[in-house]
C-alpha cells in the first residue's frame, strides 16, 4: 500500500501592506510533481457555519508553494488556513497554519515618495499602495522641527500639492502610510529636504 503522503509543512503567512501570501514547504516525491490546494476559515465560519472551510479556487491543485490569499482574507478577524498535497492518486492530510492569521498584523512600510519644489510650491509624488491606504505627510521648515504641518492624503494621484513655501527657505518632508481598516500606520519614510524658489531648487 503506497506510503501515506506527508502533509505540507512550514505553513506560514507573509503579509506586507495588506497583501497576504500563504507559503509552505514542498512535498517531494521522487520523479513526481506534487500539487497543492488551499482552504480558509474565518471566525464567522467557525462560530456560525459549522466550522466549515472554503476553498480558494485560484489555489486549487497548483504546483507553486505560494498562494495569494489577499482577496479572501479581507476582514479584521482571526483566520485559519490549511494546505494539502496531491501526487498522482495519492492525497495528503491537511497541513494547518499554526495559530491564526489576522490582517491586523500585516507589516506596513513607509511609502516611496519624492518631494518636489516647483517655484514656491511644495509637492509630493507618492507610491500608490492600494485603495486601503492613506498617507500622513509631515513637513516643516528646516531646523524648525517645533513647527510641523500635517496633511492626510487620502487618494493618491500623481503629484499632490502640499503647500506654498517661503521664497528661498529650506523645507523637509516625511510621510507614513496609514490603513484606516486596521487603524495602524507604518514608520515614517526617510526625510527629504529641498529649497523653495529664490535660489535654484536643489536637494540638501
Amino acid at each position: 500500500e503506497d506510503a501515506l503522503l506527508p502533509a505540507p509543512q512550514n505553513i506560514s503567512v507573509l503579509s506586507t501592506n495588506m497583501k497576504h501570501f500563504l507559503t509552505w514547504s514542498p512535498v517531494t516525491v521522487q520523479g513526481e510533481t506534487a500539487r497543492y490546494s488551499v482552504e480558509f476559515q474565518g471566525e464567522y465560519e467557525r462560530e456560525y457555519a459549522n466550522d466549515s472551510w472554503i476553498p480558494i479556487c485560484e489555489c486549487s491543485l497548483i504546483a507553486s508553494t505560494v498562494c495569494n490569499i489577499t482577496e479572501d482574507i479581507s476582514a479584521t478577524v482571526a483566520y485559519n488556513l490549511r494546505v494539502r498535497a496531491d501526487v498522482g492518486a495519492r492525497r495528503s492530510e491537511w497541513g494547518t497554519l499554526k495559530g491564526f492569521f489576522n490582517p491586523i498584523t500585516t507589516s506596513l512600510t513607509p511609502p516611496l515618495m519624492k518631494a518636489i519644489a516647483d517655484g514656491y510650491h511644495l509637492l509630493l509624488e507618492l507610491e500608490d499602495m492600494g485603495p486601503a491606504f492613506q498617507f500622513c505627510v509631515l513637513y516643516w521648515k528646516k531646523d524648525q522641527e517645533s513647527t510641523m504641518w500635517q496633511k492626510l492624503v487620502k487618494k493618491v494621484s500623481s503629484v499632490v500639492h502640499l503647500d506654498t513655501m517661503e521664497g528661498g527657505a529650506d523645507y523637509c518632508v516625511k510621510a507614513q502610510s496609514y490603513v484606516e481598516a486596521i487603524n495602524r500606520s507604518s514608520s515614517f519614510s526617510q526625510t527629504q529636504c529641498l529649497r523653495a524658489q529664490g535660489d535654484r531648487s536643489m536637494w540638501l
Binding site: 516647483d118 517655484g119 514656491y120 492624503v153 487620502k154 500623481s158 503629484v159 499632490v160 500639492h161 506654498t164
Partner: protein, 216 residues
C-alpha cells in the same frame, strides 16, 4: 383589440441609464422585429406590490422612457418592465435588474470657473444638480445627496507642463504664488467614498495670470 399572441421576441437589454439621478429606461428592439414595433412600460417600487403603468410610454415607438419622476425617491429601489407589440403579436414583459438610484447613477463632472490675478488663480467648483421634476422649482445639489462628496482638482502649468493635484472638500480653491503671465489649465472630478462613485474629469478651463505690475 382581439386576442394577442405573445410570440414576439422580447425587448433586449432593458436597463436604467441614470445620470445625476435622471433615470431613463432604455432597451433594444426585439431581435429581427423590423419597423413598426410599439412598446408599453410599467414600473414598481421594490417591496411594494403593484406594477404601475406609465401612460406617457403607452404604445410608443421609441426605445426609451424617462422614469425620473417615478423613481426620484432615492431611498427606494425599483424595477421597470417593457412589452413589445407588432401586427397583433406581443412579447413577454421584460424586466430590468433592481435599480438603486443612489448607487447606480453616474455623476457628471463639476462645473469649473477660474479667475486670476498676477500671481494666483481662484477656482470655484459647482457640483451637478440632482434631476428635478420642475426645472423652475428649487434645485437640489448632489452635495445634498452625497454629503461626503469631495473634489479632485488638477492644475496644469502650460509653460512647464507640470500638473499638480489637490483634494478638497469645499468648493473653492485659491492657488497663490504662481508665475505671472502664465497659462494654467484647471479640471476637476467629483469623488464620493461611500457609496464609491466618481465622475470623470471636467473639460479643462484655462486662464492666464496677469502681467506683474511691480516689475518695470
Amino acid at each position: 383589440s382581439g386576442e394577442l399572441s405573445c410570440s414576439l421576441p422580447n425587448p433586449r437589454n432593458v436597463h436604467f441609464e441614470s445620470v445625476n439621478m435622471k433615470n431613463v429606461l432604455r432597451w433594444s428592439a426585439p431581435e429581427g422585429a423590423g419597423d413598426g414595433v410599439l412598446y408599453r412600460v410599467k414600473y414598481s417600487v421594490y417591496g411594494v406590490g403593484r406594477w404601475i403603468r406609465k401612460p406617457e410610454c403607452r404604445n410608443i415607438n421609441t426605445t426609451w422612457c424617462d422614469l425620473s419622476s417615478e423613481t426620484s425617491d432615492y431611498e427606494e429601489q425599483y424595477y421597470a418592465s417593457v412589452k413589445a407589440f407588432l401586427n397583433g403579436m406581443c412579447s413577454d414583459w421584460t424586466e430590468t435588474t433592481r435599480f438603486n438610484p443612489l448607487t447606480d447613477t453616474k455623476i457628471d463632472p463639476p462645473t469649473v470657473s477660474v479667475s486670476s490675478t498676477e500671481k494666483s488663480i481662484s477656482i470655484t467648483l459647482t457640483a451637478p444638480e440632482k434631476w428635478t421634476r420642475d426645472p423652475e422649482g428649487e434645485s437640489v445639489s448632489l452635495l445634498h445627496v452625497y454629503p461626503g462628496l469631495q473634489y479632485n482638482v488638477s492644475v496644469l502649468n502650460r509653460k512647464t507642463k507640470k500638473r499638480w493635484f489637490f483634494s478638497i472638500s469645499n468648493n473653492t480653491l485659491v492657488v497663490p504664488w504662481l508665475e505671472p503671465e502664465t497659462a494654467y489649465c484647471v479640471s476637476a472630478q467629483i469623488h464620493v467614498s461611500t457609496p464609491l462613485l466618481h465622475s470623470g474629469f471636467s473639460k479643462e478651463h484655462c486662464v492666464a495670470t496677469l502681467k506683474d505690475q511691480t516689475t518695470k
